[in-house]
């Protein structure tokens, strides 16, 4: 044995770089995207994004459908935040038509969108807990999220896909009985959110997995166009509700939640504080709902649209969502461009995985929303010459090492 070792002139160390495909189907990925992570040891040295697994051609389809059919199409771009998509698209149509919805409808739209923010934030915070291994917290949060889903059903008539927004208003109005029910739900859910907030702040495991992980600087946020809670957790005060003051946000008091830390924990805590703000907004709306009509007569809406273009934004739960609608007159839009917040937040953050540990990748991805390996490179050490060199598996197979 000793003789054999002394005869050896090469040592092959494998693996040095491991390619870990995270997605397109993965427990931590809610949308089909492939993030290829290259790791040396436990640390990420390179990351790449591969998209297109779920491209449905919505923008092209929108050109073929009428302006009104597209409201339902846009609502189906995202299951979680369908109301914000419909609101953003409908407001673009209203700008082209020079139409202003009544105040009561604006307040009701705001209420539906804030309920959506509440259940979306609860979902991603629950998923964050699940990804770091705290499944019980996930289950509890998802249970209490159902209360918000119920509230959304009371307002819009449906717990998920609302189809609530229409040109010139909303589809359903609220009566005093429904307002009382909604207030009761908000009273019930608030202490639960405060409790989960405290769990995130105090739990040792969550702190170990989330604090000082995936830190982003304000300059990284703005140069890479990162949006929503991801930007605000790094101290960049960007919020479309403030920039555009659409719907009732010009009248409803609210504050932009920011933190300075810029890590995964900061992004989670921003979401918790935003839920608190959303609850306050919902309560304000229920107590100050303007009188008047909210549901327009659909038969009086114009079938044909004038020429024009509009660029609208909404603060979706994940950040700024933008719609560009162009009309050349007629019944179909000439161009509809949808830019979702995840589009920026997921693709543009790929370089920031470098330097982190593999185990942190799902936690980071969950904080802005990741498989198994095939070895790519090996290191060959020439013991006689004392040289280390990296070669590809292909070259090794060819005997060129």
């Amino acid at each position: 044995m000793t003789e054999e070792v002394s005869k050896a002139d090469k040592v092959v160390e494998i693996p040095m770089t491991v390619e870990i495909p995270v997605g397109p189907q993965h427990p931590a990925v809610h949308e089909p995207i492939l993030i290829k992570v290259y790791a040396e040891g436990e640390y990420v040295v390179k990351a790449e994004a591969y998209t297109g697994y779920n491209h449905r051609g919505v923008e092209k389809l929108a050109e073929k459908k009428t302006f009104y059919q597209d409201i339902f199409l846009c609502g189906r771009v995202c299951g979680i935040c369908n109301t914000v998509h419909a609101d953003c698209y409908v407001r673009a149509l209203e700008h082209i038509l020079n139409k202003e919805p009544p105040p009561r409808a604006k307040y009701l739209r705001t209420l539906a969108m804030e309920l959506e923010r509440l259940h979306s934030h609860m979902l991603i915070l629950a998923v964050t807990a699940e990804i770091v291994g705290f499944d019980t917290l996930f289950m509890h949060m998802m249970r209490d999220r159902e209360l918000i889903m119920k509230a959304k059903e009371i307002v819009t008539g449906n717990r998920v896909l609302a189809d609530y927004i229409m040109v010139g208003g909303v589809r359903r109005d609220l009566n005093s009985e429904k307002i009382d029910k909604l207030k009761k739900i908000l009273t019930k859910v608030e202490p639960r959110i405060r409790y989960y907030w405290r769990v995130f702040e105090e739990d040792v495991t969550l702190n170990k997995r989330l604090v000082e992980v995936g830190r982003l600087t304000p300059a990284q946020v703005t140069s890479h166009g990162l949006l929503g809670p991801v930007a605000r957790a790094s101290g960049v005060a960007t919020d479309s509700r403030y920039h555009d003051a659409y719907d009732a946000y010009a009248e409803v008091p609210f504050r932009i939640v920011t933190r300075k830390e810029g890590d995964c924990m900061a992004r989670s805590l921003v979401r918790f504080e935003e839920m608190q703000v959303s609850l306050e907004i919902c309560r304000y709306i229920l107590n100050h709902l303007p009188e008047g009509e909210a549901v327009p007569d659909e038969r009086r809406l114009p079938r044909r649209f004038p020429e024009g273009e509009a660029f609208t934004t909404v603060e979706a739960p994940r950040g700024e969502l933008t719609y560009y609608v162009m009309s050349k007159g007629g019944v179909n839009p000439y161009r509809v461009k949808i830019r979702t917040p995840s589009y920026n937040n997921i693709i543009n953050t790929v370089p920031f995985y470098v330097g982190h540990m593999i185990a942190d990748v799902p936690a980071i991805l969950a904080s802005y929303d990741p498989c198994i390996s095939c070895m790519e490179r090996v290191v060959v050490i020439d013991l006689r010459k004392g040289i280390r060199k990296k070669v590809s598996m292909r070259d090794l197979a060819k005997g060129e090492a």
Partner: protein
């Protein structure tokens, strides 16, 4: 949309010398018309004036204007300091749509440029990440179809 070439809004002062016209897009977005070669310069000038954390690149919208033989490219920039959306608008010929990539000034333009290349065939020179089938299914990309072109037949 209204056009007023005489009045240059404050937010566009840093790129005053590059402007070919100013328009307003609803609701209240300031559209700066530029030559294709001036877009990167204009973005760099805005960044120099408002600082790296004073603005961010939001959205890239490319539109096929088949009847005019052009492709219009709009760069939407949110100037946080002024709380104002600015649109840098330029046109490139439809038969050879080429423009300098904004990546070196704004890494945020990456998905927008990749998408505009994949769906409309606009070449962003200097962007090494352009590839077909970024979003479009491979069988469509292999046929050389750009789906968002008006004559794509999809």
């Amino acid at each position: 949309m209204s056009s007023d070439p005489l009045e240059i809004p404050d937010v566009l002062k840093p790129i005053e010398n590059l402007l070919k016209g100013v328009m307003i897009m609803k609701p209240g977005r300031i559209v700066a018309l530029l030559e294709p070669g001036d877009v990167v310069k204009a973005y760099a000038a805005l960044k120099a004036r408002y600082g790296e954390t004073g603005l961010y690149f939001s959205t890239l919208v490319a539109t096929d204007l088949k009847d005019e033989g052009k492709i219009r490219i709009d760069y939407y920039i949110n100037v946080l300091e002024k709380n104002q959306y600015v649109v840098l608008r330029t046109y490139v010929p439809r038969d050879d749509p080429r423009i300098e990539s904004l990546l070196k000034e704004a890494p945020a333009a990456l998905p927008g440029e990749c998408e505009a290349y994949d769906l409309l065939g606009v070449v962003f020179e200097g962007n090494p990440h352009l590839r077909r089938a970024f979003f479009v299914p491979e069988e469509v990309a292999e046929k050389g179809i750009f789906p968002l072109r008006k004559d794509a037949g999809v």
